[in-house]
Symmetry: C2
Subunit: 211 residues, 2 copies
């Protein structure tokens, strides 16, 4: 099981489900992970560093990347581009790292189309009441914004069956363990152990002669 | 994630890979599992109890079970029948237990055809040399028998890609943890959480109105 191939993990889920914290804890607690860093044309916020939270770039630079197919996927929100740089992801996968990224369902499906072995994981709260509490709890959102997010959550919930796995973020530490367990299990698929299987087959052929 | 549905787990692998010990440890260390008990027409060995190691029965009784489709699969080895009683497996699954059984590849594929959600797990030694050591190590086998088993192992290795997962039984405790992790991960498939997903969808529809 050495020289393992990295797995691309795509995390989606309701706004307020705690995806960001979950991924941050996963990468902190376990070795072998790399967080994908998105490219964006939006202005850096206070405390954000280029190459840490995002790769910040101009619209011209971003559009050049699109034209070069240097982004696995991209989308425009509120007048800004967001996208996933291909070279960073592929470099980490080649190093054997499991690369994790957060994206909404349309982007997730675009990634699955290009990387069929990618694992799609949907993160949910235990129920809708808890989702509403978390959205309200931030205290920074108006009732109108909360309603819009719940409406969007209802739409997102329609696509859950497109995902390979669903995790319920009730207790954060439990959820981090479950997410890691799901990824660890995926490493045991025969398609991810072809090298070992071929080696074993070759040895067994040899062993029948050997005495 | 309550009221979970039981998963049927089919374990195959090389003779000498330690499947029996692995399954025994899994059931001892974790809750929620049930070992399937096979039916057989072979004579009980010293220390074997009916309904514990096997359900012992006559050929007439066994053939009646075959005719009644009361066995998920069956096969004949060395003049004796072996089979998997359907009622025992289905009762445990209905109780929400994960039912685990050991069988060779032909039986595993027959089970997958009837239970498409069954998890097929292949158990291997780390290499062929270790397999030979374990086969010889028992001390009860002649070189001829060892050769036959290695030859059979080579044949079995051809079917590994039919399995959902492969585990390497190098260190037993690690392998037990890996096997449990694979099964725990499978419980997170959306198809195994339809009740939760429907509940969440219903609530989200409601929440958009609620203020």
């Amino acid at each position: 099981m050495k020289n393992r191939q990295g797995i691309l993990i795509v995390v989606s889920g309701f706004s307020g489900a705690g995806k960001g914290t979950l991924m941050k804890r996963l990468v902190e607690e376990y070795d072998g992970y790399a967080l994908s860093i998105s490219a964006t044309t939006r202005t850096p916020r206070a405390g954000e560093t280029d190459g840490r939270e995002y790769f910040f770039m101009s619209r011209e630079q971003f559009e050049k990347r699109i034209a070069e197919h240097a982004l696995i996927e991209h989308a425009e929100y509120c007048g800004n581009y967001y996208g996933t740089p291909r070279d960073y992801v592929e470099q980490k996968l080649a190093e054997g790292r499991d690369v994790i990224l957060e994206i909404e369902i349309q982007g997730a499906l675009k990634i699955k189309a290009q990387y069929p072995d990618a694992l799609l994981v949907f993160v949910s709260t235990p129920d809708a009441a808890e989702l509403r509490r978390r959205l309200s709890g931030r205290g920074t959102e108006t009732e109108d914004v909360i309603q819009k997010r719940l409406c969007r959550a209802a739409k997102e919930a329609e696509g859950i069956e497109k995902y390979d796995y669903i995790v319920i973020n009730d207790d954060l530490e439990t959820c981090v363990k479950e997410l890691h367990g799901i990824i660890a299990a995926a490493h045991h698929a025969p398609a991810r152990n072809e090298e070992f299987i071929e080696k074993m087959r070759g040895e067994l052929e040899g062993k029948q002669i050997e005495n």
